[in-house]
């Protein structure tokens, strides 16, 4: 236990405390320690338009992306729970988007969305859905949606695999009995599958929401938070404040606000697994 404790204090505990100290100062990224400024950074952050916009962006990204992942994931899991030829191969395929590094995924979708040579533009114009090429990541109204699709594509297989494992725990004779009774699709889902699905799905939901609230990589590679800051998430905002503008103090206060939000989600997560004793 001791080695872990030492390591965690060095690379997590100390930096966290130090971030808290910094957040009350006007320190720059390099150089002097900075003056104590009390709660000024927090007042500026919470009252400022950039923070509110970034919070809204992050919330939209998290809820829609995770929502899509849950719907697609459960759909795919129900499908994979059926018997058909090629099921094993399809199940193996589900691993692929998950295993693809986030940066490679972001790069791939950036190329697909490219306004001049992108495959999405080519596909949609060739089948006649779209009259001309569009800038999927360049128009403020489109960029967030495009990001969400790219993120959901990578992450729904994880939800699907978790849901599939849950569905396979439903006893075979219960499934068979429901078929014999001619149970309708809705009540089949509600009464046969849901009792087994609810717990693991809740875990997946909270975990994915936490990850989505921390989102940085995919946005950085695809849009850098643009166009017109329409995809700037909280983490991107902190990065810009602390490292691009080198305002360590106010960057730290923003980072701690993000941390607080994630902590609330993490508490929900931990109480969920405690209740379900999943871990």
């Amino acid at each position: 236990m001791l080695p872990l404790l030492a390591v965690m204090i060095a690379v997590v505990g100390w930096p966290l405390v130090s971030t808290i100290q910094l957040s009350f100062t006007d320190a720059r990224l390099v150089g002097t320690a900075g003056e104590f400024v009390g709660l000024a950074n927090y007042q500026k952050a919470l009252g400022g338009a950039p923070f509110r916009a970034a919070l809204t962006n992050t919330a939209i990204f998290a809820f829609i992306s995770v929502g899509l992942e849950i719907v697609l994931g459960v759909g795919a899991a129900i499908l994979l729970d059926q018997e058909f030829r090629g099921r094993t191969a399809l199940r193996a395929m589900m691993i692929l988007p998950w295993a693809l590094p986030t940066i490679v995924n972001a790069t791939l979708w950036r190329l697909i969305y490219s306004p001049e040579y992108g495959a999405l533009n080519a596909l949609l114009t060739q089948i006649g859905v779209l009259p001309g090429y569009r800038s999927w990541l360049g128009e403020p109204g489109l960029a967030m949606g495009s990001l969400i699709v790219a993120d959901a594509w990578k992450n729904f297989p994880l939800v699907a695999l978790i849901a599939l494992a849950a569905l396979q725990a439903v006893p075979k004779d219960i499934k068979a009995a429901a078929v014999v009774d001619g149970t309708g699709a809705v009540s089949w889902f509600r009464f046969v599958l849901w009792p087994y699905l609810a717990g693991p799905l809740m875990v997946a939901l909270v975990l994915r929401t936490i990850e989505a609230f921390k989102v940085f990589d995919i946005i950085w590679v695809m849009t850098r938070g643009g166009p017109a800051n329409s995809t700037r998430s909280l983490s991107i905002l902190v990065y810009q404040e602390a490292f691009s503008f080198q305002r360590a103090g106010s960057g730290a206060s923003l980072a701690l606000i993000v941390t607080l939000i994630v902590t609330v989600l993490a508490v929900i997560y931990i109480s969920t697994i405690r209740r379900g004793a999943v871990a």
Partner: protein, 281 residues
Amino acid sequence: MEQRSRLATVLVHAAALLLAAFILAPLLWLFVMSISSSADLSARPLHWWPQHVDFSRYVVLLSVGANSAGEAFLASLRNSVVVASLATVAGLLVAIPAGWAVSRRKQLGWSLYAVIATYMLPPVALAVPLYRALAGLGLLNTVYGLALVYLSIVAPFTTWLLKSGFDALPRDLESAAMIDGARLDQTLRLIVLPLAAPIVATTALFAFLLTWDEFFYALLFTSDQKAKTLTVAIADLAGGRIADYGLIATAGVLAALPPVLIGLVMQRALVAGLTQGGVKG
């Protein structure tokens, strides 16, 4: 499922095909881009398959010295391997005793939640002090500095996974060894670890994938070929002025290959790990 009607069978197969296409299409396109000429990729209407299959970019990226793109790519590949290996080994060294302790002593149960909470901390919360500390120690832009920072992710993550792995192991042998007077470290080394080898191996792979994937800290703490990892190199390519989509795609294929192969080969173990802890974002 014998009672399933013809219609239902057709629907299931159609849905399966749709799902397969949805998953494979972007991946296949990445590969096609990597073997297409620039002319094919900028053609309108777009060529969905190149007129001449061209593997030359793989040669460009994987040959040393001859060109700057290859040199930069190979350097970042080496950095990624070194950083991921260092962080994984160091992470396991601290996580094995910790995971075992948490698994065997109920009083330490609380610490597992602390570990999980740590793992969930957003990296931005630690980035500024870590940056200043690495700068002070002269470890900015070094593989060692980055590996050290990665411990903040790898150590809690592996502890968490190992703990659930150790939980499933029988305890009788351990108690027998203790009664025979074995010290704690002897019990751990001679009794527990041989039994836990598959668990440790799976955990190591997870940790490796996690660090292979990491971008945020790598972006912040590395600046040139000395320490830049693959993820940063690829983001540079994608965000830079290079107009050759094929080259970007080739780098993407190469960077994706190790984790995808590990994913396919280790499917069973990975899925078990995922569903147990629901880990990795």
